[in-house]
Every structure is written in structure tokens, then in C-alpha cells.
């Protein structure tokens, strides 16, 4: 078994026992990255930086002063600002932007001793579900369907993170999730990813998409791996007013798959007409596995579910249209100044050249729904729906402790398969409601489609119950015994 095949948890053990060095581990990953550049998972590789950090980790490991993630090679989604390393959010408009500051979350991981291998590709400004909108080019999933050579999407927006972790190019990666951007790609590539409660992770230094929804989280190959990363990533940050000032448990140490006394809710509205029968069956299997771990199933109702997607595709673009106003060519990133042009000409040329099609579409939608005369009909209504959806979950959590649902309505699809934006948006149907409610939710790989592609189930918990979500995730992981791996390209 090569070093890159180890889980993050096994790497911790091996490093602590000095079975291999952090430098060896990092080099193994750098080699894997070099051999898999066709996946286009990384926007920037930082091998020198990684080896220097690994060297420091080895010193710390030898002296007994190592942090919880000392020597663990991670990829950082290119939405996190990284000091001295170009950060573009996969947008031309931020081409050449090198932050003078480190995002709180990536800074916490580095402080825990993690090694940064590079920056991971994503949908431009995290807007997309297939990683086809990146200015750095599409990310390719390491998976292929049985009997097909068609390249598949890794999901989005954290597609680079998903592809890299699945292809063993990184032990784990940071993702961000606005409407499913951690969970859906995790499901598409057969890995695990958790979006914690809104406010658990600081948003400071993360390029904003939709501020009231954006939340960072870990993506890794096991539940325990995610738990280790999550503990390091969470915590109050005085620089982010919306971050929660609460103690952070040691999620990994407290992992517990014993679900006796827990009630698992199955939201009936998630049983969509025409749901893929393989997914429907895995969902049933998942419930059976959780029951075997001691949980009691209950059917619950989330009556406003069908309004979640429309509300999300009003609120998220509205916030985005404002958040992206700062990309104006005045202070950083790309500027296009037409000869003899005015300030307005510069804005138009810069933003026309700098933003891709999907980003422009969302800016237009967001601008429209906030405009005078439309605000009440769209934005205010969407905010009301959001409140109703949060109340749905509150009511459900009066009769159950956790919810079990599919993560996505399908397995990974081929590039260009979803041309209509609405088709693409439907991919988020199971992940968006919990995002609107700010709840912790994770995806765990549980099986393969008829085509041999990974499928995931989603566990949603009460606010701040990451521990409960991780526990149920662990129970699913153990019962499902998902061991499938993408084909090796190297």
C-alpha cells in the first residue's frame, strides 16, 4: 500500500510512530499530483512550501510539540485566501491576486501543523455544481462509469477538492458549501464531507459567494478523517461577527457510532417522483444500517421543501451580486481600461472580461431580485420561505434527532450533460434546504450506481450537533463498507 492510500487518521498514527516522515508523506503526494495533472484538480501547486512545512512538521513531531495535523498533506480550495500564494476563486477577474493575509480556517489548519500542497480548483466563485465554470478549466473526476471512457464531472463547487482527495492526491481538503458544494462533490467521487453549522467556521479570508450561506468544512476519505480536520477548522473568530463563540469539541475523540436512543427522521418530501431506484434502495439500506446501530426510524415532514430551491436561487445570487461588486478593477486583480474610456467603461470592460457566464448570470439574477419594484416579490418572499424551511426543520427535530436523505439525485454525470442551468440547479435539491437552515450536514459514500459510480447519503443534524452527524456518519460508513476506489491513472 502506498503512503497516499492511507487515511488521514492512519497517516497521523504513522507519523506519530515515525514509521515515515512528513517529508516522505508530502513527497508521495507531490508525486501523485504530478502524475495526475490531467485531472486539473489544482490551480496552483506549492511543492517548495509544502516540503518546507513538512520539514517543520518533522521537527515538531520529533520534539513532541506537534499539532493535531502535523505533517498531514492537505489541499486548500482556491476560495480561501492564502498568504503569498495566488488566490483566484477560479476567476479571471482575480488573476494574479496574491493575498497578504491567510484566511482564518486555512491559518488554523497550518497552525495545527498541516502541510499545504496547493490550491484546489473550483467552480468560478463557487458557483456551480459540476466544476465546469472554472476559469482554470474543468476539473475531471478520477472515476469512470463501467464500460465508458467518458470523462465525468467531480461535482461542484468543491470539485478540485473532491477529485484530489478521491484520487489520493491529498489526504484531505478544505471545501466550502453554500448550497451543497461540499456534500454533492463528496458524493460524486465517493468521499466524505461535512458542512458544519453556519457560524462554526470563520468566513474571514474566504472569498464570499453568499454570506448568509457560505460555510467551510472538511472533505476527506473517512468520517474520522473529517472529524480530525473539523476540530482544527472550527472556532470563534472575532474578525467574523457571524462566527459562533462556543467551545469546539474534539470531534474525533468523541466519535461514537452507537445510535441507541436516537431517532432518525426520513423526510417524506425528499422521496421525489422518479428518484433513481438505486439511490432509493441505498436510502432504505442506510436506514436499515442506522437501525442496526440502535436508532429508531420515524417519518417526518418538511412541507416547504419544494420552495427551497427557488428561494435559494434568489437569496444566493442576491448576496453574490453585492459581494462581487468589489471586483471592479480598481484595487486588485484584472483591469481592462478601454482607450479613452470613463470609469463606467472600465467597470464594464473589466467585469465583462473577468467574469464567466454562470457568474454573470447570477449577478444578473441577484441584481434583478433586489431591484426596486421586484424586491418584495422576490427577495422578501424568499426570506420568508427561508424562515418557513428553518421552522420545518425545527418541527422535525422535535420528533427526531437526525435526518437521513440522499445527497444528490444522481451519480456524477458527463461534461456537457446539463446544458440548461435549471437542470444543473436541480442537483442541489437535497442539500439546499439544510443550507438555508444553517444546519450541519454531511455526505457519506455508501454504494455504487449500476454504472459503478459512487453514491452518497446525507445526514442532517440539529444546529451545533456535528458530533451526532459524525456519529451517524460513522455508523453508515461501517455498515456500508464502501471500499471502491477510482481507477489509478498513474
Amino acid at each position: 500500500m502506498s503512503l497516499t492510500d492511507l487515511t488521514l487518521s492512519a497517516m497521523r498514527t504513522g507519523l506519530a510512530a515515525r514509521e515515515f516522515s512528513a517529508c516522505e508523506l508530502t513527497q508521495a503526494h507531490l508525486d501523485a499530483m504530478a502524475a495526475n495533472r490531467h485531472l486539473n484538480a489544482f490551480t496552483v501547486e506549492t511543492p517548495e512550501l509544502a516540503l518546507a512545512q513538512a520539514g517543520a512538521a518533522d521537527v515538531a513531531l520529533a520534539s513532541g510539540s506537534a499539532g493535531s495535523l502535523a505533517g498531514i498533506p492537505l489541499g486548500i480550495k482556491d476560495l480561501f485566501c492564502t498568504k503569498g500564494v495566488e488566490t483566484t476563486a477560479a476567476s479571471r477577474i482575480l488573476e494574479g491576486f496574491v493575498p497578504q493575509y491567510e484566511s482564518t480556517v486555512s491559518g488554523k489548519l497550518l497552525a495545527a501543523g498541516a502541510v499545504m500542497l496547493g490550491k484546489l480548483n473550483l467552480d468560478e466563485f463557487a458557483m456551480g455544481s459540476s466544476n465546469e465554470t472554472s476559469a482554470a478549466g474543468r476539473v475531471i473526476s478520477p472515476w469512470k462509469a463501467i464500460g465508458s471512457d467518458a470523462e465525468l464531472v467531480p461535482g461542484g463547487s468543491s470539485g478540485g477538492s473532491a477529485s484530489a482527495v478521491s484520487a489520493r492526491l491529498a489526504a484531505g481538503a478544505t471545501g466550502t458549501d453554500t448550497g451543497g458544494s461540499i456534500r454533492q462533490p463528496a458524493a460524486f467521487v465517493g468521499i466524505t464531507g461535512i458542512k458544519p453549522t453556519y457560524g462554526r467556521c470563520s468566513r474571514w479570508g474566504v472569498v464570499a459567494f453568499a454570506s448568509s450561506l457560505d460555510q467551510a468544512g472538511p472533505m476527506a476519505r473517512t468520517v474520522e478523517d473529517c472529524a480530525h480536520m473539523l476540530t482544527a477548522m472550527c472556532g470563534h473568530d472575532p474578525k467574523d461577527t457571524t462566527s459562533l463563540d462556543l467551545p469546539v469539541p474534539d470531534f474525533a475523540a468523541l466519535l461514537n457510532a452507537d445510535l441507541r436512543g436516537k431517532k432518525i427522521g426520513i423526510p417524506k418530501e425528499y422521496r421525489l417522483d422518479g428518484l433513481d431506484p438505486t439511490i432509493a434502495k441505498l436510502w432504505d439500506d442506510g436506514l436499515a444500517w442506522l437501525r442496526a446501530a440502535g436508532a429508531e426510524p420515524v417519518e417526518v415532514s418538511l412541507p416547504h421543501t419544494k420552495y427551497a430551491l427557488p428561494a435559494y436561487y434568489i437569496i444566493a445570487p442576491a448576496e453574490a451580486s453585492s459581494n462581487l461588486a468589489r471586483y471592479d478593477g480598481v484595487r486588485f486583480g484584472q483591469r481592462v481600461m478601454p482607450e479613452g474610456g470613463s470609469l463606467a467603461d472600465m467597470y464594464e470592460a473589466t467585469r465583462a472580461a473577468g467574469f464567466g457566464k454562470e457568474v454573470k448570470r447570477r449577478i444578473m439574477i441577484g441584481t434583478y431580485v433586489l431591484s426596486a419594484g421586484f424586491y418584495d416579490a422576490y427577495f422578501t418572499q424568499a426570506q420568508k420561505v427561508r424562515t418557513l424551511i428553518a421552522r420545518d426543520f425545527e418541527a422535525a427535530f422535535e420528533v427526531c434527532d437526525l435526518l437521513l436523505t440522499p445527497t444528490a439525485p444522481s451519480a456524477a454525470f458527463a461534461f456537457g450533460a446539463k446544458v440548461d442551468p435549471l437542470d444543473m440547479y436541480l442537483n442541489d435539491v437535497f442539500t439546499v434546504p439544510s443550507s438555508l437552515a444553517g444546519l450541519p450536514a454531511m455526505s457519506v459514500p455508501v454504494g455504487l450506481s449500476a454504472d459503478g459510480l459512487p453514491l452518497g447519503l446525507q445526514i442532517i443534524g440539529r444546529p451545533l450537533d456535528e458530533q451526532g452527524v459524525l456519529g451517524a456518519g460513522l455508523a453508515l460508513e461501517r455498515a456500508a463498507g464502501f471500499t471502491a476506489k477510482p481507477e489509478k491513472r498513474a
Binding site: 485566501c81 461577527t241 461588486a325 470609469l343 433586489l370 424586491y375
Partner: protein
């Protein structure tokens, strides 16, 4: 009394509302830790947040909230227990975020009022509609280069209170009085330094005209007028422009205008058709501001005695004239100086403060202010302290020196910085209150002017002043004038 524009077709009443932008006195900006000092080198007081770098987030400055609440309390206004920050979206080079964080829907302060006093002595209450907190923009500089504009972000993100009046103002004078009273109040509260020439206070002036009793006319908004005089001028010229326009067959259009102090006119900046759609929505980066009763009480406890109350106390309890009360309460620093002087003078003279207040007030209004004006200083940089002045006035009060000599001593204090008693001693200015010496001097005067004594005794009493003057002269000006009067009367009667 209403102010009227006399048009060719009759009289027009004007309706004015003011939106005053007051920069909050705080060490750092509304949502960042950057400094706020005036006059720094361009772009030296800019944090990553102020420059709207990717991933930066605003964190509300508690001091700005406190100052807004204190200001609201000073205006007797409703303090909203929950207020919310909204984004006002528009593009400009000196607005790095592409939006200004403001409070449209739920401002921190609701309705209040401000009393103003007019030149004819009448008072009027001007309604305050609301106060909200918002960020200032940066500054664009267009005149340094023929083809380029420059941006200075030092001011970007500084906290402003926008204080919105009701359309209760009916004349240029009222507009001026309102801004002056507001400025005075803010300076008392300490929430804004009121330095209009540094841009710490500026007003958007809303003006419309109508026939008496008719509904409101269409208003124009003249932006960013930065002195009391210009505000009054902007109200007047805009009202007259509107009347002339209407009487000439035109209609007033709702638009944004600019006041040009050079020409004393207003000109159109943009019409309603060009108005921005600001797409306000609640800022998702910030939580609602929730204030507790305890917090508001604590803010109230830090308010000083406010100008109206202070002025009333000076007149009613201390017996000052309206004029002196106005002068001394105009600035908080004047009042503080006066109160320190009164207290010190009462202690030094052993007389009740109420008795000493008038002396202190008169002396400040005549002697101190005169000296400061000559020296080009203000009360904060006065070369004498209230206690040093009290030492001087105590010497007058106990008869050691006369008022005339006190002027000389004060001059010497200003020049040398020495104490009043030391100067009096060094220069031998102590007033003679020894009746024997005065009697001797009077005897000499009477001997030398026997003819006039005879005329006086014969009924020409107007000569009394002559004898006083001669006696004072004989004593080198140092005699106690009251004693000279008393002894002269006795000896002339003799």
C-alpha cells in the same frame, strides 16, 4: 414667523428638511480598526476591510454605537432596541466594497426633536425623524493629473451619523439655527467634533416651495453643503430658483443638486431618471444590533448637562443675563471654563458661588474673550487657567486691587504667566484702604482747592467727581475708590 418668497404672482412659503452627516468621534472606523485622524497622508489609514480585499468582513465598532445612542438620548429620541445594517449598492471608484453599509429599514435612533432659538427670541421645535449609522466613502481626486483620477481611502469606512430632520424648517434662518444648535449639541455630547471645514459635518438640504397651506411641493436635494452660512444660502437661492421656475411656467423636478459657494447658486447634478437603484438589503455579514435597557441607561448616565438645560440654569439659578447665558453655553468649553472659574472664585473669596457667578461671567465675556481674540486663541488654548483668573478676581473682590488695576494685572499675567498676587506685590499695585492715608491725601486736595471747596459747599455738588479724581491722582491710582467716596463726603461735609 414665517419667511416668505415674494413672487410675481404672490407669496410662497418654503419647506425645508435637512439630512446632516456627522462623523462620529471615534478612534477607529465603523467596521474596521483603522485610524480616523484628519489630515493624514493619503491611503495611510486604510485596513484590508476598508480596501474591501477579498474575504474581508466588517466588525461593528461598539464605540460608534454608543455615540449614536448618546446622541439619540440627547435629542430625546426613541432608541431602537433592535437595528439592522443594510447594504446600499452602487459603483464608484472611492467605494471599494461596491456598497455602503447603512441602516435603511431599521435605524438605531427613531423620532426626537431639537429646540432652536431665533433672532427674535422665539423658540421652535424641529422634529428629528431618525438617526442611522453608516460608512463614509473615500475621496476621489480629479485635479492632480490631466488624464487620471486618484483615490484616497483614508475616509473610507469612517462612521457617520445621518441625522434626518422632519420637514419642519420654514426659513433660511431656521435652517441655520437648526444646524448651529445641532452642532452645539453634538459637541456637548462629544459624539462629533462639528468641524465643518474638515468635513466632519455636512448637510443635504431638501427644499420645496408652496402656497401657504397648500400640500408640499416637489423637493430638490442639494448635496454636501458644508457650512452654516452656505446651508442658509442654499436654502434661500434654491427656494427663489424654484419660485421663479414655477412662475415662469416651469415645474420643479425631483433631482439632486450641488451648491456652488463661488457663484452662490445651485446646479443640477442628476435627475430622478438617472437616480441609482441602490438595491438595499440587510447586510448578511452583520448581526442585528440589540440594545438592552441597562446599556441604554449606562449611555444616558454619561451625558453631560445639555445646552438648553445649562442655559436655563445660568439664567434662573445664577441670575445671568440671557446674553451672558448664551455666550457661555455656546461651547461646552466656555461653560466648563466659567464653572471652574466660579467655583474657584467662590472658594478663594469665601463668598457664595451664586454671588460670584455674575462677576465671573462678566469678566469672561469682556476681559477673557477680548484677550483671546487679540491673541488669536480659543478657550481650549487660553494662556491662563480658570484658577489663575480666580486668583485675580478674588483680589478685586476683597478690595486688594480695583477693577482698573485688575486689567493691568491681567495683561501682565498674559505676558509673563505669573500669578496675580505676585504681580500685584512686585508692581506695588495693592490698593490703599488705610483711611488715615486717604484722609491725608484728601486734606491736601482740599487745601489746594479752597475755592472749589467753597463752591461745592455752596451747592455745586457736581464738583464731587473732581475731588475724587484729584484724590485718586494724589494716591497714584491705588486708593480704594469706595473709601475715597466715603471719606470725601465726610470731610467735605466737615
Amino acid at each position: 414667523m414665517s419667511w416668505i418668497v415674494k413672487g410675481e404672482t404672490g407669496d410662497w412659503e418654503i419647506v425645508v428638511g435637512l439630512e446632516v452627516h456627522a462623523q462620529v468621534t471615534a478612534e477607529s472606523k465603523l467596521f474596521s480598526g483603522a485610524a480616523t485622524g484628519f489630515g493624514a497622508e493619503p491611503n495611510t489609514q486604510v485596513s484590508l476591510v476598508d480596501a474591501a480585499m477579498p474575504g474581508m468582513l466588517p466588525v461593528l465598532n461598539a464605540e460608534c454605537v454608543r455615540q449614536a445612542v448618546r446622541t439619540g438620548l440627547a435629542l430625546g429620541a426613541e432608541i431602537n432596541r433592535v437595528s439592522v445594517f443594510d447594504r446600499k449598492n452602487y459603483f464608484y471608484a472611492d467605494l471599494p466594497q461596491g456598497y455602503q453599509i447603512s441602516q435603511l429599514y431599521h435605524p438605531i435612533v427613531g423620532e426626537g426633536a431639537l429646540d432652536i432659538t431665533l433672532s427674535d427670541g422665539t423658540t421652535k421645535s424641529i422634529g428629528i425623524e431618525r438617526i442611522h449609522l453608516e460608512q463614509d466613502a473615500g475621496k476621489s481626486v480629479h485635479d492632480l493629473h490631466p488624464a487620471r483620477s486618484f483615490v484616497d481611502l483614508n475616509r473610507s469606512g469612517c462612521a457617520l451619523m445621518e441625522i434626518v430632520s422632519r420637514p419642519d424648517i420654514r426659513s433660511p434662518e431656521e435652517a441655520g439655527a437648526y444646524v448651529a444648535a445641532l452642532r452645539q449639541l453634538l459637541r456637548y455630547v462629544g459624539s462629533c467634533d462639528g468641524n465643518m471645514d474638515e468635513g466632519s459635518m455636512r448637510a443635504d438640504v431638501n427644499v420645496s416651495v408652496r402656497r401657504a397651506g397648500a400640500p408640499f411641493g416637489t423637493r430638490t436635494e442639494t448635496k454636501n453643503v458644508n457650512s452654516v452660512r452656505f446651508i442658509m444660502a442654499a436654502v434661500e437661492v434654491e427656494a427663489k430658483r424654484q419660485v421663479a421656475l414655477i412662475e415662469g411656467g416651469g415645474t420643479v423636478v425631483q433631482e439632486t443638486r450641488l451648491f456652488d459657494p463661488g457663484t452662490g447658486t445651485t446646479r443640477s447634478m442628476r435627475s430622478k431618471e438617472d437616480a441609482h437603484d441602490y438595491r438595499y438589503f440587510p447586510d448578511p455579514d452583520l448581526l442585528p444590533v440589540e440594545l438592552t435597557e441597562d446599556y441604554i441607561d449606562a449611555c444616558r448616565a454619561t451625558l453631560p448637562e445639555l445646552p438648553v438645560a445649562k442655559r436655563r440654569r445660568y439664567v434662573e439659578a445664577l441670575g445671568l443675563t440671557d446674553y451672558l447665558a448664551d455666550v457661555l453655553t455656546a461651547e461646552k468649553a466656555n461653560a466648563a471654563w466659567f464653572e471652574a472659574l466660579s467655583a474657584s472664585l467662590a472658594t478663594r473669596s469665601g463668598k457664595p458661588e451664586a454671588d460670584m457667578a455674575k462677576t465671573a461671567a462678566n469678566w469672561i465675556a469682556s476681559e477673557l474673550f477680548g484677550a483671546l481674540k487679540r491673541l488669536g486663541k480659543d478657550i481650549d488654548t487660553a494662556p491662563v487657567t480658570p484658577d489663575a483668573a480666580a486668583e485675580l478676581l478674588a483680589l478685586v473682590a476683597d478690595g486688594t486691587i480695583s477693577n482698573t488695576v485688575a486689567k493691568t494685572v491681567f495683561e501682565a499675567m498674559l505676558e509673563t504667566g505669573e500669578g496675580a498676587a505676585a504681580i500685584v506685590d512686585a508692581k506695588g499695585l495693592r490698593q490703599v484702604s488705610d483711611t488715615g492715608a486717604i484722609d491725608d491725601a484728601i486734606a491736601g486736595v482740599l487745601d489746594a482747592n479752597a475755592d472749589k471747596v467753597a463752591q461745592y459747599r455752596g451747592g455745586k455738588e457736581a464738583l464731587f467727581g473732581f475731588f475724587v479724581g484729584q484724590t485718586m491722582k494724589a494716591m497714584g491710582g491705588k486708593a480704594n475708590p469706595a473709601l475715597i467716596n466715603e471719606r470725601l463726603k465726610a470731610l467735605l461735609a466737615g
